[in-house]
Symmetry: none
Subunit: 207 residues, 4 copies
DNA sequence: AATGAATGAGCATTCATTCAT
DNA sequence: AATGAATGAATGCTCATTCAT
């Protein structure tokens, strides 16, 4: 009994988590109703409280689930090749995870923006220990050693810039009538990150 | 009666608008209470309804006010100088407008992300006619002519990339404990936009 | 100046009264908005308060105006002829007054039903002094003398019965999809009032 | 759990319905506060929403409950005897149902008068299928066969006349200081319906 | 573990009325 | 007399959460 029950419970949790991701994605944090999530997952109104303490805890759990997928995806990219190709692989892995849960991802960004700093800190993965970020920094470090990446910037700074550009492109993609498809993002991101829009000589001059 | 009252009414509207920007910024759209805004502006609970039809209309009005400031700021930057300096001026103008209403800006982005496409379209300034964007495209066009900017991308595409990077940096800045100050953004933005993080030769090789 | 102004004021009052009758008729007492009435009559929101103290006072005034028309109409019917013809004339006079202000009449009945007894008493014309009722009782009295009307009932009782039947027919007419037109009412009313639906013999038997 | 809870829920619904009938009766539809009803029935403010979707739905439910009582009462009158006695029984059954919920009945009539035709149609029992009306028509039909009732009118027309008179008497009874008691109505109604106030010969003459 | 009835805190909006001009 | 800005009282409804079964 214990094993069966545990498995069933795990399956129930999954179902609730998936349904919650959909509902939060469709209606936003405030708009989603916890009753609806529970019912849509095939349970009674209040059953969800046997799995999650509160609406906020549920949201955090969906967020954590999302982060796990992201980390898992990052873990599978190859560790060799050019910086460009490795960055592209990383970006594509991330994009594919987001594409899978796109509406929720939008809501997640939105909610993190809203929360006061302390809550946000709890929700947002800590950069220092984030495996995804870790992987990115490794690539950049290797690039500096191999000469593919500028050495006049710290790895941390560049990682933040790349993350910023990635999030910015995502935002652009989400604006109404955007011409940017989610699958365009990895390429746009890597290319722009590496090259910029200026022309070599002008850089030298201006500095 | 007419002149005095009209001026007073305008001043009252301003007061309500400013207070609303603060409240929305502090508590988000859903969290802000329209009663509180009215009272905080020095009126009775319901007086605000003499100026704005609904909470949503009030939010739109604050948004429009914000957009106006942004446009006004963009209108004052010089029209000559290097692409780099002109972009920097534009970015600084925008940053200073945002800095003035920073908490509201955060909420504004958040809300636009939330709205369904049709509502968002109504709220978000139309790119094609946005004076700010117009100005940006003019700079890029001049840059292409003078050879400061790559010619293998359309002006529209580059404008979108720059906007994406700007929004992404803003997002980074808003993450808890971010080391990026709002005043760092213009410089980071322009530099990265023009130069990228790669090294010239690697570009040539990879292509 | 005094005469002109007084005439103008009187005209304004009329305009407000007529507009109020329409608005009350269309939306009911609670549903009608005093602002709308004032504006629809061509004035500013609050101007109506220069003519009527409150919404309730306005309603009473419209009611009084209505009663006046009714009384005036009753005053013009001939005082001779058969009971049947005189009753018919009275009923037709009343029906035509009601037809003129039909929606308001409906609302008036409705509101009188709602009010607590003391308010209703103030609104509803006092039977004992109501010229309309007075006229009706005169006809019935004449009928008793001439033998056209039963003598085993008091005039008051019969007047009440006729009024009840009249109001009941009006109600029927106002029910959705009623086949009874307002112009049918006088004839139906008089005929039924005089004759009943039973057959002579059965009356005798049963008593 | 199920059986006990279901019974309890039914009892709670009843309590809310009864309380609502009182409150609506005392204060009218607009005047009654849904919170008060819930609290007066012994629940928290919002509990009533577990039973009825909205104020309007609650009102309709009370109305339906009222109609059910009326139908049930009509179902119990005897099917033989003179027309007079059967009509009297029917009228008394109806009067006793109304007497039980008199204040609500008043409000119900009032509200039906107020509603636009489509809403009223939904609220008001359809004549064609109304068991009460059905019963009335059966009595009249029998009366025409037995010669107790005039044959020169259609059953439908007479049924409407009787209903009109009944409603009119009710209205009279509800006017302030009316001498008509609710228990007088059945007798007045039947007698007047059958006989009219005219005298046989005058009818003959006039025709 | 699942249920669902009960709860209560929370909130935008309406509108008659007042009053200074 | 006319105006219109300001007012404040009043209320239906939502939804996360609890708890007894």
């Amino acid at each position: 009994m214990p094993r069966v029950t545990a498995a069933a419970k795990e399956e129930h949790r999954r179902r609730l988590l998936d349904t919650a991701a959909e509902e939060f994605g469709a209606k936003g944090y405030a708009g989603a109703r916890i009753d609806d999530i529970s019912v849509a997952a095939g349970f009674a109104r209040s059953t969800i409280y046997n799995y999650f303490d509160s609406k906020e805890a549920l949201f955090s759990a969906v967020l954590a689930d999302f982060a796990e997928r992201s980390i898992a995806a990052a873990g599978q990219i190859p560790e060799d090749g050019s910086v460009r190709s490795r960055l592209l692989a990383l970006a594509q892995a991330d994009a594919s995870v987001i594409a899978e849960r796109e509406t929720f991802a939008k809501v997640a960004i939105r909610e993190i923006l809203t929360q006061p700093a302390d809550v946000a800190r709890a929700l947002w993965p800590n950069r220092a220990v984030d495996p995804f970020d870790e992987r990115l920094r490794a690539i950049l470090r290797d690039g500096q050693e191999s000469g593919e990446i500028r050495r006049d910037r710290s790895v941390e700074e560049m990682a933040r810039l790349l993350a910023a550009l990635a999030n910015g492109l995502l935002l652009e993609h989400w604006l109404p009538d955007s011409p940017i498809a989610i699958n365009d993002i990895p390429h746009l991101l890597v290319e722009h990150f590496l090259e910029g829009m200026g022309i070599g000589s002008s850089v030298a001059e201006d500095r």
